[in-house]
């Protein structure tokens, strides 16, 4: 359940942020229920909050979430059933669950993927409700809550890096690419571009 906690806290901060941007009470909660994506919803809130158009907000959210297309390809052979069932099972693809379900060597655990996402969905919608209703009284930064998500991802990353030197090289390239691109590109692009780090996996074609 550890992974549902940062989700809950992040959802609260989304509720607080959306409320402060005059989204009202219903829209932020509906957004969390139907979009169910922290990065996508924060992208929309950031762009609209900065005076951007709906189109700009949509483009930003799609760019931020394009990584799920890659992650979806990765889990494709793990999911079960016909196209419709696969489409719905694929909705369990969220960062934390995807990383937790990763068994290494390109294999994924379907039960872990879905099982880890359900509590996060409840935490995400519940946290948003709390943030919208009681948000004025919570100062997330003073409590250091903005550390939760990056720290959580760092913990998962360090576990991955224990799998070998290739993982460290891939992560190093990815981190470098993301760091260089942050000041020059819209949110989301650094994460997509950083996927090139994984291409060192192609090295295997020459070494075997």
């Amino acid at each position: 359940m550890a992974f549902a906690l940062p989700t809950f806290v992040l959802a609260i901060s989304f509720g607080v942020l959306a409320r402060s941007l005059d989204w009202g009470v219903v829209a932020p909660i509906v957004a969390s229920a139907v979009v169910f994506s922290g990065s996508g919803q924060f992208a929309v809130a950031d762009v609209l909050g900065a005076g951007g158009s709906a189109l700009a907000a949509i483009v930003a959210a799609v760019l931020v979430n394009a990584r799920f297309a890659v992650m979806g390809v990765a889990v494709a052979s793990t999911l079960e059933g016909g196209p419709l069932r696969r489409a719905f099972e694929a909705q369990a693809t969220v960062d934390a669950s995807w990383a937790l379900a990763n068994r290494g060597g390109g294999r994924f655990n379907r039960e872990m993927l879905i099982g880890a996402t359900l509590p996060q969905y409840v935490a995400w919608v519940g946290g948003t409700v709390l943030g919208v209703v009681a948000g004025d009284t919570i100062d997330a930064e003073a409590l250091g809550l903005d550390v939760l998500f990056p720290a959580f991802f760092l913990g998962l990353l360090i576990d991955e890096l224990r799998n070998g030197a290739e993982h460290i090289v891939a992560a190093g390239i990815a981190a470098g690419v993301a760091l260089v691109l942050i000041p020059f590109t819209p949110p989301g692009i650094p994460i997509i571009a950083a996927c090139v780090g994984a291409l060192i996996g192609l090295r295997g074609a020459w070494t075997r």
Partner: protein, 104 residues
């Protein structure tokens, strides 16, 4: 377009787009096994994406790079992970670090 129209338009379109983005791979590929080369790349994807999420979450602020109490908190959590402390303990140490730095 007033604020609420823009908000609702964005929510509706992003919800549909997000569904399609996640469904694309599993629906189009079905249960097919991927070629060995693709699997080799996918095996390293988690390391690459997680590293990028950490970097963006820690250093990206308003379109620029930023080092602050949050950065210090994430670094402390990272050290705790390397020392093999349990995940919740490591994350809590990071959050407390940022909170204390901001309070002083």
């Amino acid at each position: 377009m007033d604020t609420l129209t823009a908000v609702w338009t964005s929510i509706a379109v992003v919800a549909v787009a997000n569904f399609a983005i996640k469904a694309a791979g599993p629906v189009l590929l079905g249960g097919r096994q991927l070629p060995r080369l693709v699997v080799d790349v996918i095996a390293l994807l988690a390391s690459a994406i997680l590293a990028a999420l950490v970097v963006v979450g820690t250093f990206s602020e308003g379109g620029g790079l930023n080092v602050d109490a949050q950065t210090a908190g994430v670094a402390v959590a990272g050290a705790a992970f390397l020392a093999r402390l349990p995940m919740l303990v490591a994350i809590a140490l990071g959050a407390v670090t940022a909170a204390v730095l901001r309070a002083i």
